[in-house]
Symmetry: C2
Subunit: 372 residues, 2 copies
């Protein structure tokens, strides 16, 4: 329960497919990694009996009377539609949250929507975590400037976030919410998820070409190609699988990271994705522009538009990174320098960690509340 | 023997690797095809006891006294260094050629040198054919405007041309002289050559990026990559092999050609060559520029520079082709519209066939001689 003057800030990361997109549709593994572009959720109690959800980044604002929500929860219709596994806390316990005084939710994110970076899962994970925390289903993970939840708490968060994803997407794989919850790397193969222990974070630039993409269309094109040229495409998928395996070995090894392997695998996989026909001129432009600076990029996700990931080896000077970002931005693309393989959902206290980029909308509100 | 007032014009094509470059080093097939950029050789008798070799395109001119050459041939030292198979005519019979009156050789070619397009083999094949014809080792193949030699004559020409290639290159594969002699497609795998019956000529643009390339360097880079990432590179080579096989099936089939297969295989192989790391920004630029016109290109040969082949499907309007060529030329590249899989070495009579582009240097001399 939240009292007047209290507040809560949680954040959950996005996800990026490092390797294995498209190959995963044909039985190979995909490596989905957390992306430290995060969705922040700031909760304060309201005293006027209202629950408010404010997402200023995407101009969404909704409000409900607490009494209306209480009635809705009493019917439980929506919640019953998705079958809850027995380990999850009963829905009833959530009702108590809003019965008291009402809550103001403010959401701000570094993640673009509809770009394949798991923005909906990050929202779900952040929201679920805050509700679980406020209803004391999970405890405080710590009092550092950023405190990721651990152990069983993550399983509870992930279970509920998966339900939220089901409500939003119908039949999600569960990859996005798992990555956002646990952070690090999730291996996905033949519909089975495996959480991998990620020993290295990768510094990257994510570039959103803003070219609209259709995952369904791209997946169907690749399936057509496989059907038409099986002797060509099957070994291509085998090569992608070998790349994913090699990268998995590299990132889960306690040995120091070999940047050249990360780079080689990224550039090889990008070319193989071109064989699959999921490239786009805008993607090629980003790859070329970063290549001109000696950096390696690959498309990430379904392709045909969407995002490009550019690896920044340890020795890359910050000035060079900023130079590339400004060149890409001048071309109308949206860029973020961030980390891959970092922490999952967590609670913020006091001054923000410099690894985190607090979104502008949240910054102003945070100032108002004397937090962050 | 050549009498005053007589002349002889032969031409031999260049070669282009359609598929399988680099993969061929690792046991897969390469498809080497004739390229209708030809080396023309014009022979006239000289009356002053001199043998002259004039290659105005590359500013080479040599002349020898007939008596000096006769002495050289009498020693046979050079000829004996390469062991001749028993089917080849004895060297003695060649001596008679120049003993008479001397000869003027004028060579002009549409082929750039050192671009991996088999210019040295085309020169050897044209020279050998003219000598064999003048010494009556092979007969007239016909009296059309262009008359390719056939049957056993081709074997004799190819055998001698291979010896010439050995003198020039040391340890050649024999692919270039075979393609230039026979035309069509030669399959090369595990050091074995197989002449394939090519049922379709492909209309293409060949673009020389003029970026100097080192075949040795590129081949060694690929070998390193294979050693470092065998699980990735081996399936890539398998995919290239499947592409070569598919293209071979397509080009040797009597069914009508499916342009989309040629295009798909070309674009897939180019991307796979990028995985092997043999790309170059200039190659990418040519691919992109042609792609912007809806055409498909791939690098051909060792990569890291050198030439790009762009497929022109049957319906491509000539205006569009010329537009692309002029754009590429404006970038400083050298372009030719030509045919792949066309005829091998042959004898010219009278007016030139419009499929042939007579080099400028030869045109002026031909006019002088009232031929072509």
């Amino acid at each position: 329960m939240m009292k007047e003057g209290e507040h809560l800030v949680v954040s959950a990361p996005g996800k990026v497919i490092l390797h294995g997109e498209h190959a995963v549709v044909h039985g190979k593994r995909a490596l989905a990694c957390s992306l430290n572009l995060r969705t922040y959720l700031h909760v304060t109690p309201s005293t006027d009996g209202m629950v408010r959800m404010n997402l200023p980044d995407i101009n969404i604002y909704r409000e409900w009377k607490v009494e209306d929500l209480t009635r809705l929860f009493a019917n439980k219709t929506q919640s019953e539609e998705v079958s809850l596994p027995p380990v999850y806390p009963p829905v009833d316990r959530f009702n108590s949250l809003c019965e008291i005084i009402g809550l103001d939710f403010m959401v701000s994110s570094n993640l673009p929507t509809s770009a394949g970076l798991g923005s909906s899962a990050a929202f779900a994970v952040a929201l679920v975590s805050s509700l679980l925390k406020l209803s004391n289903q999970i405890s405080d993970p710590g009092t550092q400037s950023f405190n990721p939840w651990t152990g069983d708490h993550l399983e509870v968060i992930n279970g509920w976030a998966f339900i939220a994803e089901k409500i939003i997407h119908g039949n999600p794989s569960g990859v996005d919410n798992s990555v956002s919850t646990y952070g690090g790397i999730v291996k996905y193969q033949n519909k089975a998820l495996e959480r991998l222990s990620c020993k290295h974070e990768l510094s990257v630039i994510i570039t959103n070409t803003k070219v609209p993409r259709s995952t369904k269309h791209m997946v169907s094109n690749v399936a057509d190609k496989l059907k038409q040229y099986p002797t060509v495409i099957n070994p291509v998928l085998d090569a992608v699988e070998a790349i994913s395996q090699r990268c998995q070995d590299e990132l889960t090894s306690t040995e120091s990271l070999d940047d050249s392997v990360i780079r080689d695998m990224m550039s090889a996989n990008h070319a193989l994705l071109c064989v699959l026909g999921v490239n786009h001129p805008a993607i090629e432009k980003v790859c070329r522009m970063t290549h001109d600076h000696g950096l390696t990029s690959k498309l990430t996700g379904a392709g045909g538009g969407g995002c490009v990931i550019t690896f920044l080896p340890a020795e890359t000077p910050e000035e060079k990174t900023q130079d590339i970002i400004s060149q890409l931005t001048n071309q109308g693309y949206e860029c973020w320098k961030t980390l891959v393989g970092g922490p999952g959902v967590g609670l913020h206290f006091g001054e923000p960690n410099t690894d985190f980029i607090i979104p502008t909308a949240l910054q102003s509100r945070a100032k108002l509340c004397h937090i962050l």
